[in-house]
């Protein structure tokens, strides 16, 4: 099958993980892997894989738009604000993996089809991708829920410099997406970086305040949703719950990474890079069929 070319901007943890996943895709190939960091381990790996690389970040794509039709931006919210209008002018279908909130927010298990119709798709955050579908499921069973809280614990080693510089955006974007996708009136997001050695597995807990929870109905619905996410994030698993205690429902999700760029603990990379690949592949298939 013919493949559609993608460009990856940002050669850190997320960009490098994407590179591996693109390499396995039947419909995508990497046309350019570009960033600023001269010491990037990702760049070395890309070269070894025979992928064109550049240190001119977005400049590489501006100078040679034929490198790609789809662009993944993995830099940071601040940089994406600069990149977004340029990519739009270049006519590139853009998948933004920073918490910039510029494009349409997308969680593939919820609104993939809509996202393919807009020029810029934002993938919220790793915590958002993990727990928003669960929050939505809870609201479908218990629309009277007033408050949902999501807590992400990720291994310190898996949080690159972009993530660390964007904690504020991470929290605000996750909270907003949680409210708008699930409809819960009040929400809170918390992020914890854990430096433990060996690194901890990505671990996400959701709390919902529900006075009289129907655990049977919740369990059924949450398991269905988890299964639909597993189709594109194989390491996604329900680690605990739903359990109820004094009007508080708890669900814990773990994501075991595929170990593409970082080892399996870094499920926080996989949840968002798998979502990005899902969007890009769907876009590419449509494109290939229409050609």
């Amino acid at each position: 099958m013919k493949k559609i070319k993608v460009g990856i901007i940002g050669t850190g943890n997320i960009g490098s993980d994407l590179l591996h996943k693109v390499g396995r895709s039947e419909v995508l190939e990497c046309g350019i892997f570009t960033g600023r960091n001269k010491d990037s381990e990702g760049i070395a790996r890309a070269k070894a894989m025979g992928v064109p690389t550049s240190f001119d970040s977005l400049g590489a794509i501006i100078n040679n738009p034929d490198y790609c039709e789809i662009v993944f931006d993995t830099t940071s919210a601040v940089y994406h604000t600069e990149h977004a209008p340029i990519l739009k002018n270049l006519g590139k279908f853009t998948i933004d993996l920073t918490p910039s909130r510029i494009g349409m927010m997308c969680v593939p298990a919820i609104n993939l089809a809509e996202a393919l119709e807009v020029p810029n798709v934002n993938l919220v955050t790793c915590g958002g991708q993990t727990l928003i579908p669960i929050a939505k499921a809870i609201m479908e069973v218990h629309p009277e829920t007033k408050y949902i809280e999501v807590v992400g614990s990720v291994a310190s080693k898996s949080a690159g410099s972009g993530t660390r510089a964007n904690i504020e955006e991470y929290i605000n974007t996750t909270t907003n997406a949680l409210k708008s996708f699930s409809g819960v009136p009040e929400a809170k997001a918390i992020l914890i970086l854990n430096p433990a050695e060996p690194p901890i597995l990505m671990h996400n807990t959701l709390y919902a305040l529900i006075p009289e929870p129907n655990i049977e109905a919740l369990t059924k619905k949450i398991n269905e949703v988890a299964a639909s996410i597993q189709q594109y994030v194989p390491g996604y698993r329900l680690a605990m719950g739903p359990t109820a205690e004094k009007g508080k429902v708890t669900v814990t999700i773990e994501v075991v990474g595929r170990g593409d760029f970082l080892p399996a603990y870094a499920g926080n990379l996989d949840i968002i890079t798998c979502a990005a690949i899902r969007v890009a592949e769907e876009y590419a298939r449509k494109k290939i069929l229409s050609k």
């Binding site: 809280e149 904690i167 914890i192 854990n194 430096p195 433990a196 050695e197 709390y207 605990m240 708890t250």
Partner: protein, 336 residues
């Protein structure tokens, strides 16, 4: 020790001991009484810092901003401070409105190896022209060299001082002397120490830190805090006065506040029991004491075992959700 700065965390760290239920009346009374004592700053808010009210670490009885508003009215000579943990509180919802209320000083905290998450927040406060300090928590989990590296990052963002927190009360005298002495020697800004009393050393360790050059003593009146409590400020001040140091702090006011006000906040008197010792030995955040006790009761396991297992997993502040998991697993093993 004329330039000793006392950071009073009673209305912040003390909150952990009462599940973050301080009321506006309590904050008002405390601030009015302590204002003239000569402390450098009174820090107010949720135990995990402003904006941390949550199911994960405890829902505040009264919103932080309401507590800050009454504290602002009462504090005329002493600075009003807040504590902020990136990942919990945000600029948008918490820090910006707090600064608008007239907060003078902000402590931005991170786990001891994660200083780079404080950049956005320290810069924000520094650019407003307010006092900002960097806090490195759970310092026993890393080396003094790494602490220096992390502290330097905070200073480069604009922090005017660095406070080292012995969050698990896991220090030994040699560790305090070595670490604080090294940081004092290598950093151009004031260094502070925040002790926990798990192994009965909170006053001694704070004194030790001052002895090797720290300028900030961070504690709470009557030691009001999680687990075995913090360094009781009035005890430290009494000790320093007895040793002949001229410090411009009114011991009588501090003792009155301790007896007449802080005792009324406490649900039970602070004590070092086997659970807080286990927390200190395991090097696990003292604020896990209440969640651990609750989980131990719920699942019928020994709280000390939970602490030792949490220590093995090297959990950090904010990971309260792990407590229940660990307790469940221990209960399962017990059955088998």
């Amino acid at each position: 020790m004329k330039d000793l700065m006392i950071f009073d965390s009673t209305l912040r760290d003390g909150q952990h001991a009462i599940s973050h239920q301080l009321t506006t009346e309590q904050v008002e009374r405390y601030c009015r009484a302590v204002d003239k004592a000569g402390e450098y700053v009174v820090i107010v808010g949720h135990g995990n810092g402003i904006g941390a009210s949550s199911v994960q670490v405890g829902i505040s009885g009264t919103p932080d901003l309401e507590l800050l508003a009454v504290a602002r009215k009462e504090l005329k000579q002493t600075r009003l401070g807040i504590f902020l943990l990136p990942g919990f509180g945000t600029i948008a919802n918490d820090l910006a409105p707090a600064m608008k209320l007239g907060v003078d000083l902000v402590c931005v905290a991170a786990h001891c190896t994660e200083a780079d998450v404080t950049q956005q927040y320290i810069k924000y406060v520094a650019e407003l022209g307010k006092e900002v300090y960097g806090v490195l928590m759970m310092y026993h989990m890393t080396t003094k060299e790494r602490l220096l590296e992390e502290a330097k990052k905070m200073v480069s963002y604009g922090a005017q001082g660095i406070i080292i927190m012995d969050s698990a009360g896991a220090s030994t005298p040699a560790m305090v002397k070595e670490t604080i002495g090294y940081l004092v020697e290598n950093l151009p800004v004031p260094i502070g120490f925040h002790a926990h009393n798990n192994l009965g050393m909170a006053v001694a360790h704070t004194w030790m830190a001052l002895e090797v050059g720290a300028r900030i003593a961070d504690g709470t009146i009557r030691g009001f805090g999680p687990g075995a409590g913090n360094c009781p400020i009035e005890v430290l001040v009494a000790l320093l006065k007895k040793m002949g140091y001229q410090i411009p702090v009114d011991l009588n006011i501090l003792m009155d506040v301790s007896d007449q006000i802080v005792t009324t906040f406490m649900k039970k008197l602070l004590e070092i029991d086997s659970i807080t010792i286990a927390s200190g030995l395991a090097g696990v955040f003292s604020v896990f004491t209440l969640p651990v006790k609750r989980a131990a009761e719920r699942f019928g396991v020994d709280p000390r075992e939970i602490f030792m297992e949490l220590g093995k997993r090297r959990v950090v502040g904010g990971q309260e959700d792990i407590v229940v998991e660990v307790a469940m697993e221990l209960a399962k093993h017990k059955k088998q």
